[in-house]
Amino acid sequence: MMDSDLSILVRGIGKRYKIGATQQRTDTLRDLITAQAERIGSTLRGKRHQSNDADHIWALRDVNFEVKRGQALGIIGRNGAGKSTLLKVLSRVTDPTEGYGELRGRVGSLLEVGTGFHPELTGRENIFLNGAILGMHKKEIEARFDEIVAFSEVEKFIDTPVKRYSSGMYLRLAFAVAAHLEPEILVVDEVLAVGDADFQRKCLGKMGDVANSGRTVLFVSHNMSAILRLTQDSIVLDKGKVLLRAPSSEAVDFYLNRGLSKLGERFWEEDEVPASSAPFRPLAIRILDKAGQISDSVRSVDPIRIEIDYELTEDVTGLRVGCYLFTTRGEPIFTSFDTDSEELFKEYTARPKGIYTSRCIIPPDILNEGRFLLGINASSYGIRRYFQDDQALSFSVDASGAPGTHWPEPRPGPVRPVLDWEIEQRGSA
């Protein structure tokens, strides 16, 4: 039994998946029968079938940590580090393969926003259904019903089937229910990635309330600024293991500096490139941080370098290779080509066949925190477009340390330029 001031205790938790287990939706009895037949066949031939380690993958291994009551813990790690699996184990959706853990009280989660909503049911009906699914009692839901409806701002449509709701209304109602669950332990997984800026602010506000009311919060995010703002301590996960448990500022530094976020690069295999793009063939695109390391997560206060590698299988005239930057919601931020400058435009009117790299730098203090999509375009103006991929690569920008971050609030908008402010006193009162 854990101490009474602990909220979560995890000891040696591991979760093993069979490789391909998630693809088993296509598994049919026929596959099973063939597999069994093969197994019997190999047994007859004297080979013993063993489920060796290669068939399995440990999504989590030997995870240990504890969280005190009322503490907000951040969980950092790149995609595939085991964050979601950890949350699934903690919310008891799936059982761990090994290890032991204890949780004190109800676990609520903002990753369950809208879970169990039925499009045919009205807003009112869905509040009750969703509340029950999230573990609320009918009396609790009745007691908070008006509050939930007011929070969601859908009063007028409360008796309309939710299939007629706009996606914004739907999300607000779903969030309102989850937000009024008042669990002892709240799990938040990247909710900040969905919804509009208002919704995100509401989420953050609600999380702050939860933490202030002495409940325990687990916060998973790629957004380092949000982690720093909302948590005191963080754990860094990599390949299913806890690499570090430290105060959040230390953990964030560790994560950003160890290049754990190393994705930041995209290669094109030969068969990924349509034949129509010849003679242009993209090879790779990558994001580099200040130190010249390939990185998926860069800081807004540092210069950000973009490199595009490509091959020309023939001489090309008038070629321009460039990139687009979009927000993850697809709003364009800027477009830029390697021959934008007069000088380079004249120098590279014609490019002989060969392998090239076009590189550029996004100066510091341009981008706001958040996730961005980098697109690539290769064309000859007015002649033809060779290749285009609007979602070649995605990367995160972290605004910690940027001017203005002494106010712990997210700033809307994809850019965060440093402007030349002056303050002048024009007289005295």
Partner: protein, 281 residues
């Protein structure tokens, strides 16, 4: 958010690997009774949304099937109906059969249909097939009205035997639940199950004395084997409870034992498979 009613003695939940074959935790199921209620209510509500006739379908369906079987088997083929008017004979069997059939149809796909719940929230998984069966039960209770109407039309006197309907309905529900546990858990892994269910239901219907009387089956060992089909005991009992005729005998006992066996194995199988639902579905 109000200052939390932070209860230091709040329930402690343990996380550990599932081992072996698990039994069922009735206490936990009771704790989740409201969820059972809401999911059942959702299933009923959603089934008849945007249907003009709404819940009236639960009465119309058995009426239509009775009409069809009466024409084909009663009038055209002149099947022996144990001395009862054929429509009465058919209806008394079709009502519990409809309950069984609907429960099976709904519960077999219930887990897959609720995969978004399975992968996101914890609750005892048996609740999902259970609420599908309970929703079918509500339809059934409404459709019982038909039997009373028929009794009035044919001037059949009401007897205390009618109370047998309660245990017989329970037996039907348990039988449907047992098969539902097996099929829904299998369907998570092998979607072949949902392709198979319509045929299973068809075969099962003809293996039950619905359109023909049980006396067609030779007495003795063969009848006993036949009674392993839980619906044999149920259907025969139903007919007797409403309209008299041959009372339930060994068939009902054998059918009940078969249900018990199916239910226990089904439950253990379900609980065993449950640990991987979220990973596989």
């Amino acid at each position: 958010m109000a200052e939390a009613d932070l209860n230091p003695s709040a329930q402690v939940v343990t996380l550990k690997p599932a081992k072996g074959w698990l039994g069922i935790n009735l206490k936990e199921l009771w704790h989740y009774r409201e969820l059972i209620y809401f999911l059942t209510w959702r299933d009923i509500k959603v089934r008849y949304k945007q249907a003009v006739l709404g819940i009236a379908w639960s009465v119309l369906q058995p009426v239509l099937t009775t009409a069809i079987t009466t024409v084909v088997f009663g009038i055209l083929l002149k099947v022996n109906s144990d001395g009862l008017p054929y429509p009465v004979f058919a209806l008394s069997a079709l009502l519990p059969w409809h309950l069984f059939q609907l429960s099976l149809q709904k519960s077999s796909v219930s887990l897959v249909g609720n995969s978004n719940l399975l992968t996101k929230v914890y609750f005892p998984r048996v609740i999902i097939p259970l609420s599908s069966v309970l929703a079918a039960l509500v339809d059934f209770v409404i459709s019982l009205i038909l039997l009373f109407i028929t009794m009035a039309i044919y001037k059949i006197p009401l007897t205390w035997n009618i109370l047998w309907v309660i245990p017989l309905t329970l037996l039907t529900v348990l039988a449907a639940l047992a098969v539902g546990f097996w099929l829904s858990a299998l369907n998570v892994q092998y979607r072949d199950v949902q392709q198979m269910v319509p045929f299973l239901i068809q075969i099962w219907m003809y293996a039950t004395p619905i359109v023909y009387p049980i006396t067609t089956i030779p007495e003795g060992t063969f009848r006993y084997i036949y009674s392993l089909n839980p619906m044999v005991g149920v259907v025969q009992g139903f007919r007797w409870a409403f309209f008299g005729g041959s009372p339930p005998d060994m068939t009902l006992i054998i059918s009940s034992l078969a249900v018990l066996l199916l239910l226990i194995t089904g439950l253990f199988f379900f609980r065993h498979m449950e640990t991987t639902f979220a990973d596989v579905v």
